[in-house]
């Protein structure tokens, strides 16, 4: 029983960051109809920003997170402006392949700059975990959960309570009519991609210090993000949050009770199972942002 | 109605999208060799009805039978195998292929050979290819597109694309043809030629169900007209009857259009 409780706690911590990853991807797909293969690289990028700010520049750990969010935002905007804007109106296969090209180039770039050796980040949190009865959780992981929850909340409010968010939702539902309402659709696309990218970078910056940082770390993260988005339904933010926690739970249970080697297979198995049995995602209101 | 045998029966069909009623309780029949038109304002459920009849949509209630067989649960290609073939409202061609190749694709039902025979190029498969090519040329001549045979279908005018769509449907050897707004986008002379074509199709024993907005055309070509409004049938009968039906005039024909 206590083992199960421990898995639940781990699930909560992991699920928060997974949700963050999923929201970014689902926003970009939902609004722009682009399958963003660079999502994992942005995750990696966020983690390296954390490493640079904390380890190389010696600055404050808590400052690194907003820096990573901002850097992710800028990189995302740059990708959108250079690679996606010129291809507006092309079919989804073309943008998907272009994103794959960008992924290969950027990941190899990370390998070139930082090398293949894994890096770790020192954190200001005490080594000793917080023990609550039968379960324990590290302070760092608690911080990660809190930060992820805050970012999810901010994103939710942005989408549902601001004029920009309303314009994003309108663009998702009907981009021509949104532009007739005066929405600058190009600007919405760029912001959407930038916001999604900054969330991926934030997830990387949060999980980087928990694990280790290396150039290919984003690949699995990307797969997990895809699994989450498919679980929740493309374009569905609430679905992505729930999907994040479901995936975390499946991984915890898979690793705990089957074999730790198959932990990372859970995401793929979920993808395959959902697409075969419920192609619109677990939550029926699939085609929706907000 | 005459003593024709019934080809298709639409029996208490209803279609709901979410809470929206697209068709409510629709029942009518089409006799063998008859030309029946389905008319009504946009959104009245005409195309939805077509989609139900050809298996692209499953009705929420009721059923469609064709030549005694219930169509419920059949996939579109299985319904096509029964000889029930449709055309589509918008561009219904394979745009990147030549007109000739379009017809060859349409001849799919006729050209089935075993996969291995086709790959190995066995005589059976080769003979079948020859027959298909022969048939494709005949069909092109029938609809009057032989001069366009080697042009990409997507480069043709809308009117000509409509004809390709019909030729494609004919290639599938229909016993009943469902035409969805075939003359929209055609000019007067093209429409006139099309009416002739429809008659020649019927003369070969093919039953025709037509959805069309062009009232003069509908009034000339139809044996019988079914009028839909709000997913319900509000009138049914010969063109003369429909032209003078007060309910139809109010709901659809309006000012004077019926007197074409």
């Amino acid at each position: 029983m206590s083992e199960f409780l421990q898995h639940l706690i781990n699930m909560l911590v992991l699920g928060g960051t997974y949700a963050l990853l999923g929201i970014g991807l689902t926003l970009i797909f939902g609004i722009m109809n682009v399958v963003n293969f660079t999502h994992g690289v942005l995750y990696t990028f966020g983690a390296y920003i954390m490493f640079i700010v904390v380890q190389q520049l010696g600055l404050n750990f808590f400052l690194a997170l907003p820096v990573a969010v901002l850097a992710g935002w800028l990189l995302g905007a740059a990708i959108e402006l250079t690679l996606l804007r010129p291809l507006r109106g092309s079919d989804i296969d073309t943008t998907m392949l272009v994103m794959i090209g960008a992924w290969i180039a950027m990941q190899s770039g990370a390998l070139w700059i930082w090398g293949g050796v894994a890096k770790s980040v020192a954190t200001p949190f005490p080594e000793a975990p917080l023990v609550l009865g039968p379960v324990s959780v590290s302070w760092l992981r608690l911080f990660v959960l809190a930060a992820a929850a805050m970012l999810i909340l901010v994103t939710y409010l942005l989408i549902n309570r601001t004029s920009l968010g309303r314009a994003m939702r309108a663009t998702f539902q009907d981009h021509d009519t949104a532009s007739l309402m005066g929405v600058n659709v190009d600007m919405i696309y760029t912001s959407t991609f930038a916001i999604g990218s900054s969330l991926a970078a934030a997830a990387g910056a949060l999980l980087g210090p928990v694990y280790v940082i290396f150039p290919q770390m984003g690949d699995l993260a990307a797969v997990k993000a895809f699994a989450i988005v498919i679980l929740g339904g493309l374009g569905n933010i609430t679905g992505a949050v729930i999907g994040g926690f479901i995936l975390a739970l499946a991984e915890e249970l898979g690793a705990g009770y089957v074999s730790s080697g198959y932990r990372d297979a859970m995401g793929f198995l979920i993808i395959i199972a959902v697409l075969i049995f419920r192609p619109t995602g677990l939550f029926a209101r699939a085609e929706r942002v907000g | 109605m005459t003593a024709r045998s019934v080809a298709m029966t639409i029996d208490q069909v209803a279609v709901l999208f979410g809470g929206l009623v697209a068709i409510s309780d629709m029942s009518f029949t089409v006799g063998e060799g008859e030309i029946v038109s389905l008319i009504g304002p946009n959104g009245a459920g005409k195309t939805t009805a077509f989609n139900v009849m050809t298996g692209f949509l499953t009705p929420s209630a009721g059923r469609v039978t064709y030549q005694g067989r219930t169509l419920t649960g059949l996939k579109p290609h299985q319904i096509a195998d029964l000889g029930l073939i449709r055309t589509f409202q918008r561009t219904s061609v394979f745009p990147n292929d030549t007109v000739y190749d379009n017809i060859l694709i349409g001849l799919h039902r006729r050209g089935r050979v075993r996969l291995l025979d086709a790959i190995l190029g066995l005589p059976g498969a080769r003979a079948s290819e020859r027959r298909l090519r022969q048939r494709a040329s005949e069909l092109l001549e029938w609809v009057g597109l032989e001069r366009r045979a080697q042009d990409a279908a997507g480069s043709l005018s809308y009117g000509e694309q409509r004809l390709v769509g019909v030729a494609l449907a004919l290639a599938a050897e229909p016993s009943m043809l469902l035409l969805d707004e075939p003359v929209s986008g055609m000019n007067a002379s093209e429409t006139h030629r099309f009416v002739e074509l429809i008659r020649s199709i019927r003369d070969r024993g093919i039953t025709i169900l037509l959805v069309e907005h062009d009232m003069p055309m509908v009034m000339t070509v139809s044996d019988r007209i079914v009028v839909l409004n709000y997913g319900r049938i509000i009138a049914e009968g010969t063109p003369d009857l429909i032209r003078n039906d007060p309910a139809v005039i109010e709901a659809y024909l309006g000012h004077g259009v019926g007197h074409a």
Partner: protein, 348 residues
């Protein structure tokens, strides 16, 4: 005209080992040839049915593992205390089984995944390949996991009356790969020019219309998937017996991407496209190796993929063909314009 070009190309390729003595280059040509076969099989799906399968390497890898295990033998425990022991069989049977098993996998994957299209289909295929990779990595008893299967025997061709010929030299393997590539090319060419090919093209261009004239989507796409997977399996088998060592990294996503680049750059939907694209992108790393660090090569790889999609979205072969026959190309260009226009006009 087309036949002459094909014959000349085959003759040129066949003459290579007669004048090229550099074993390193010959080796590169053989592995490239194997990947070209894979690319041709991918083109059958990508170019002729319009389905972007990004898990294609799964069939290649399954072929490699099936063939290797058939010729090496294995001894594994099954649930309930049973053991499954398989004694080594000749590699040529391994090749046959590789084709069969990969084709079978193609059948099941096709059956399941064609229910979803577009982005979903892409993600299912990627996931399938990754799950297979994880199984290869974790089922150590069967696959040795990351330790790899080693000492895989070379293919031996039975020659009636003469015993058998074991293909040890590079030249022999070169001709084997060339022969298999030719068979695969002809098979695909026949298929796409047949009745089935037309059905596939119809589905790709306008699925609703194709269905309405009686084309069975599932059946047609599944046939394409089976043949495509079987050919990829054959390529995988050639790979295993030529390299003689395989590990789970054979399933890496980047290998699928390499095949995709070969197809897209050469020209999807053109028979010669994957061959041309495959030769370029198979040999480019060889040419770049002395002048570029591996990371830089990969950056260039990604950059070239993007550049091709921007500059030559239809691929090299169709673009060249366009120059040779202006009239035909005009028609297709116009057609694609009309298509774009309808897409622009019709609200989703």
């Amino acid at each position: 005209m087309r036949a002459i070009i094909t014959i000349l190309a085959v003759a040129a390729l066949a003459s290579v080992p007669l004048w090229l003595r550099d074993p390193y280059l010959l080796n590169a040509l053989i592995t490239t040839g194997i990947f070209v076969i894979g690319a041709m099989s991918l083109n059958l799906l990508l170019g002729f049915t319009g389905q972007l399968s990004l898990g294609h390497i799964a069939f290649f890898g399954i072929g490699a593992y099936v063939s290797a295990l058939t010729s090496l033998g294995f001894d594994i425990g099954l649930p309930g205390g049973f053991r499954l022991v398989h004694a080594p069989w000749p590699p040529i049977i391994g090749l046959m089984l590789a084709i069969l098993v990969a084709g079978l996998c193609g059948y099941f994957v096709g059956l399941l995944s064609f229910r979803v299209r577009g982005a979903y289909f892409v993600i299912v295929t990627i996931s399938f390949a990754e799950v297979v990779r994880l199984v290869a990595l974790n089922w150590v008893e069967l696959t040795q996991g990351p330790l790899a299967l080693t000492n895989i025997p070379s293919i031996a061709l039975p020659l009636p009356g003469f015993g058998e010929l074991t293909l040890r030299t590079k030249m022999q393997n070169y001709y084997l790969v060339l022969a298999v590539a030719l068979i695969a090319y002809l098979l695909i060419a026949r298929l796409v020019h047949s009745h089935f090919g037309r059905a596939m093209r119809g589905l790709m261009e306008n699925e609703t219309l194709a269905v309405s004239v009686g084309i069975d989507v599932t059946r047609t796409l599944t046939i394409a998937a089976v043949i495509s997977a079987a050919i990829a399996g054959a390529a995988g088998s050639l790979y295993a017996h030529y390299i003689r060592i395989i590990d789970p990294e054979v399933f890496a996503f980047i290998n699928t991407v390499t095949m995709v680049i070969m197809v897209i750059s050469g020209g999807k939907g053109s028979l010669a496209g994957p061959v041309v694209g495959g030769l370029i992108f198979g040999l480019l790393p060889v040419a770049l190796r002395p002048v570029m660090a591996p990371e830089a090569q990969w950056i260039a790889y990604g950059g070239v993929l993007i550049a091709i999609l921007f500059v030559l979205p239809r691929g090299i072969v169709p673009s060249l063909a366009q120059r040779f026959s202006r009239r035909r190309s005009k028609a297709t260009a116009l057609a694609s314009v009309t298509l774009a226009e309808t897409a622009a006009k019709e609200p989703a």
